[in-house]
Amino acid sequence: MEQVTLYDMINNPFNFVSFRLIFIYTVLLGLSVSLVLMFLYFTTARDIELEADQKIIKKVEDLNNIYLRFREQGLFNYIRRETSRATLDIYRLYDSDDNYLAGNILTELEDIKNNDDGWLEFSYKVSENGKDRIFYGRGRELITPRQNFRLIVGRVVNDEKVLKERFFYSSLWSILLILFLGVFGGYFLSRNFLKRISDINRTSKKIMDGNLKERLPISRGKDELNELSSNLNDMLDRLDTLMSNMKEVTDNVAHDLRTPLNRIRTNLEITLMSNPNLEEYKKSFEEAINETDNLIKTFNSILSISKVESGASDLDKSELNLKELIINMHDLYEPITEGSGIKLNYEVTENIVIKGNYNLLSQSLANLIENAVNYGSTNIDPTINVGAKQTDDKISLWVSDNGVGINDQDKEKVIERFVRLDTSRSLKGSGLGLNLVKSAVRFHEGKFQLIDAKPSGLIVLIELPNCS
């Protein structure tokens, strides 16, 4: 995927998950705020109206009482008296011919709306310093039954109207502001977020293009995106290790298998050239078969190491007794060591039960014993000890000899694949023995080290966690 640009975002903001989410979120927030404000508005406005209406209704009752007692004249006097002082009440009294008799509004009422519920809404102009000011009123109309006088009683509702309008407009603005902030804030927030995603995308693309050492950027803080990047980086590291292992193996295989293959080929070719008799043919073929057998053994070792190295989950672990394992190994190798004048001892007293892979552990022990037999038997009185011991937190397993040992600078080297020290080059072997031990120990989550024995020799010490 290409890098996300501002241009893309402005043209096609809905292509981006974060923007889409923020937009939806903002719209929902705007809607709910509007609902709340509308509710507040209607209840408040209703309250204000009700309060004004109560006063008018009261006034209408008063006027009714006055009319019942003093008729039209009483109303007229009352209105004259009321309008002689400043009041928010509005009175306009007409006779049956619609002549204006008394009241406190001098101009005609305009925009009279006769609501169905008996309420009138109207406005009127008052000149103040040469300017017309519009007042709004609300009231009721009374008709006297005898002389058909018409009386409009009401109140100025300018303040209420202004309050309502302010409320309405401030609500409207709040909603618009929320929407605006939401959309643009979301846009900027998501741009920041998208920038990080596009960084990840860009790095992934680099890695895909073959730049395998690249790693995803991790910014400060601990959030999901960082966690994702860090997990992906870990995954890349693991893959990288596997890849370089594989490359190393391939290189080594190419190099180390070429020599025996070349020997086989030359041998067969020369046999063909030299007009051999049947015996010579047989001899040559047998040599070739032996060489291929060794090649096959090497291949098998590589395969088992690779399988263990890749952490193959189908290698199963089961309960096994190290004491039994060591005694069996001793039993297998004792005759051959005895034949070469080597003492093979085992040092294990108690049963040590662990969960492990029987085949891997026995092969590791076999490799170590064979190494000791092949390279560690230079002493006049060569001795090899195989043993195991358990403490509370770990299980130790060792094979030691009293040969010449290994120099410190070579200790790291011998564990690598196909590495054979000059001293051992003349002896047969694939150079994979210790590497398999290393992989097997790693598979069992243990450690393994080469230690100098006193006064001479080598101890290979394997330490496994004691899980029991």
Binding site: E286, I289, T292, D293, I296, K297, N300, L303, S304, K307, D314, L315, D316, N328, D331, L332, Y333, P335, I336, G339, N359, S362, Q363, A366, N367, E370, V373, N374, K428, G429, S430, G433
Partner: protein, 226 residues
């Protein structure tokens, strides 16, 4: 002895056929799993050699189907997958033995003979005997020419393994698997030393003929010629 070889690779098949014919077997070949299953229903075969990866029906499924039909024919699987786990899987599906490629032909021959013989003479006898060599499974006594032979436990197991396969070639790998239950190739000739120890106890002290032979390029055999 009539063998059915189910193998899709022509070159491998032709080598194996040639080798098996040289060794005195009659060989028919099937090219894929379906053909192999069909042909193996014929009762004339004494054993099957089945490649693990086959077109149309893989080796394991073929064996499973055959065993479901109550066929008890000895079967050896050949496979490029050489892990112990794969081996266990193969045996669980009903194969009698499992051989990882690349294998030596003598290994195949020895194992083929072993599975065929096993089928023919499973004995419940508590005494294994070959010539004047006797092994009593109950008292764990071994004697030759009427003389008691003192064997170490492992030597006893080794001899028992050989006596159960009289006059047959057994390979070093078969011994390592059968007697020690190890599934790896030691780089050294450990087995040879064990055999020569056994030989020094059951052959050398006796006037009679040699019984424990080394089969060049293949392994060992316990033989008795009248």
């Amino acid at each position: 002895m009539h063998i059915l070889l189910i193998e899709d690779d022509d070159t491998t098949a032709s080598y194996l056929t040639k080798g098996l014919k040289e060794s005195g077997y009659v060989v028919d070949r099937a090219q894929d799993g379906v053909e192999g299953l069909f042909m193996s229903m014929d009762a004339k075969f004494d054993a099957l050699i089945v490649d693990r990866m086959l077109p149309r029906l893989d080796g394991l499924s073929l064996i499973k189907k055959l065993r479901k039909e109550n066929s008890e024919i000895p079967i050896i699987i050949l496979s490029a997958l050489g892990d112990v786990d794969e081996r266990i899987k193969g045996l669980k599906y009903g194969a009698d033995d499992y051989l990882a490629k690349p294998f030596s032909f003598s290994e195949l021959l020895a194992r083929l003979e072993a599975v065929i013989r096993r089928n023919h003479n499973e004995t419940d006898n508590s005494v294994l005997q070959l010539g004047d060599l006797k092994l009593d499974l109950l008292s764990r006594r071994v004697e030759r020419e009427g003389q008691l032979i003192d064997l170490q436990p492992r030597e006893y197991k080794l001899l028992e393994f050989l006596l159960r396969r009289p006059n047959q070639v057994v390979t070093r790998t078969m011994l390592l698997e059968g007697v020690w239950e190890y599934h790896f190739d030691p780089q050294t000739n450990v087995i040879d030393v064990h055999i020569s120890r056994l030989r020094s106890k059951i052959d050398k002290p006796f006037k009679g003929k040699q019984m424990l032979f080394t089969e060049r390029g293949a392994g060992y055999a316990l033989r008795y010629d009248k």
